[in-house]
Amino acid sequence: MTGTKAAAPATEYSAGALAVRGVRKVYQGSGRTVEAVRDLTFTVGAGDLACIVGPSGAGKTTLLKCVAGLLAPTSGEVRLGDARVQGPPPGMAVVFQEYGRSLFPWMTVGANVELPLKQKKIGKAERAALVAQALDSVGLQDAPAAYPWQLSGGMQQRVAIARAIAYEPKVLLMDEPFAAVDAQTRAELEDLTRSLWRKLGMTVLFVTHDIDEAVYLGERVLVLSASPTVVMEDIDVDLPAEREQLTTRALPRFAELRAAVYGHVQRAKTFHSAAAAAGAGDRP
């Protein structure tokens, strides 16, 4: 896309190409229907790293669940490689927004990270190595024997991230994964995400509230409108592949992109009321 990516040859990971086509999701509750997502269409090439920003309640989590095969779209479809996603596809890892609830409280940290590897039928020695390596890369090398509830929120989040990267997925979905960590750890995890992405060449879909983070991390930024949601903008991030917290963020181009995304996000909040003012008001 930007031509500067250091990812592995595209053919090897063509199974990781994501296509979201006309996805709409309506939640049918008792007496309450919510159109969380109206019409989303975009593609993410194999081995690409796309960030999604949008206002709270825009349906980002809903979208991610549809992509993960955890939620069936009301209409439209998600395709991964050349297959339609109808249930969680193999080789996809998700880091959930509610990280604390996504760890098994009856297992130690080490067992939590190891469990998906067992399901993948990876041998014992290799499992141990992967677990140690993943925990090390998130700075939790001392924690494998602890239980998740003995850790702080930020540490729990890092366990969830370690579990996802130990899995070595072809597609990695992350839902505001760094919301609960301090600024220093956050910067480290951002760099970790990028370096892992470049090393493993997986497709990454990264949801965030933080515009800076989206520009710093992504090769692309998708801006969603407020609910009912559509893709409002698709911005190419033409920053160098080699990114560094201070120098990259100091680039004039970074500031430009940041301003552009910021403008779109501001517009996203009023996107529908502007449309409604034009006459098509279907929301109360």
Partner: protein, 281 residues
């Protein structure tokens, strides 16, 4: 709060210090456990000491009868058969209750279909079933075990259903993403996730099982604790009758201690989780 830091620094604590603390907390625990029963026993002894009433013998008499009655072949003839039926009925109820509970908890359709029927059976007091079951299953062990199952099943079943339904959605999504299906899902997600409720159900089922064991032995039986107590009562062997009641009490007490041990094993994580949640919020 101090409990929180205690769990966090447990690696740093010396092994000897921990052993000593465990010992001390164990002693305190035991004092709490046995303090009130000991006091009540003393009270009983004092109150009954000058009793001349035929139906309320002194505690000395009862204890003497206890040793004479139960430290004999009655252990093999009555106590063990009772315990065997209790174990079979209780384990049967546990297996059926958990199995059916997991099925109903994960399949809303089947649950909707079976719920009215189950509610009906649950409402039938199990002792009422004894005459019916005697017709079908005779008066042997089978009938007694079925009676125990038919009463002890419900708390296990209903709690398991609740527990399975209450499993966190995010956790269940996580399991799906990482390919946990079939038996792996059952072993790693469903059973441990529902275990707090399942254990609560099993605890209720234990006391129901003991009650039903005794009642089922009072009908058309030729062995067992319930049978023996009724037998003593009919033959006016009053101290012996009281000693049987004492034995049943002790048995229930011992079993509930055993259960507490099992519970602390299985639900150690749950206690820690609850504690840390309370510490934070």
């Amino acid at each position: 709060m101090s409990g929180m830091t205690g769990t966090k620094t447990k690696g740093a604590e010396s092994r000897a210090g921990r052993g000593l603390r465990l010992l001390r907390s164990g002693a305190v625990h035991l004092a709490y456990l046995l303090g009130l029963p000991a006091a009540l026993l003393a009270l009983w002894w004092v109150l009954a000491a000058r009793s001349t009433n035929f139906y309320y013998p002194t505690l000395d008499e009862i204890l003497a009868a206890f040793a004479e009655t139960w430290f004999s072949e009655r252990i093999v003839d009555d106590v063990l058969p009772s315990l065997g039926r209790l174990a079979a009925g209780y384990l049967g109820a546990a297996v059926i209750g958990i199995g059916l509970g997991v099925l109903l908890g994960t399949r809303p359709r089947i649950r909707a279909l079976l719920e009215p029927v189950l509610e009906f059976f649950r409402a039938v007091p199990p002792p009422v079933l004894i005459p019916v079951l005697m017709l079908v299953a005779g008066i042997g062990d089978t009938m007694k075990i079925v009676v125990i199952i038919s009463g002890a099943l419900w708390p296990v079943l209903l709690n398991t259903v609740e527990g399975v339904r209450a499993i966190d959605e995010v956790l269940s999504d996580t399991a799906r993403c990482y390919g946990l299906t079939g038996t792996a899902r059952l072993r790693r997600l469903v059973l441990p996730g529902a275990s707090p409720q399942i254990v609560a159900g099993l605890r209720q089922a234990l006391s129901i099982s003991i009650i039903l064991m005794v009642i089922s032995e009072m009908f058309a039986s030729s062995s067992g604790l319930g049978f023996t107590v009724v037998q003593f009562q009919r033959s006016f062997a009053i101290p012996e009758m009281w000693s049987g009641i004492l034995l049943l009490g002790l048995l229930g007490f011992a079993l509930s201690l055993l259960f507490a041990l099992f519970e602390s094993r299985v639900l150690g994580w749950y206690r820690g989780l609850r504690q840390s949640q309370r510490g934070e919020k």
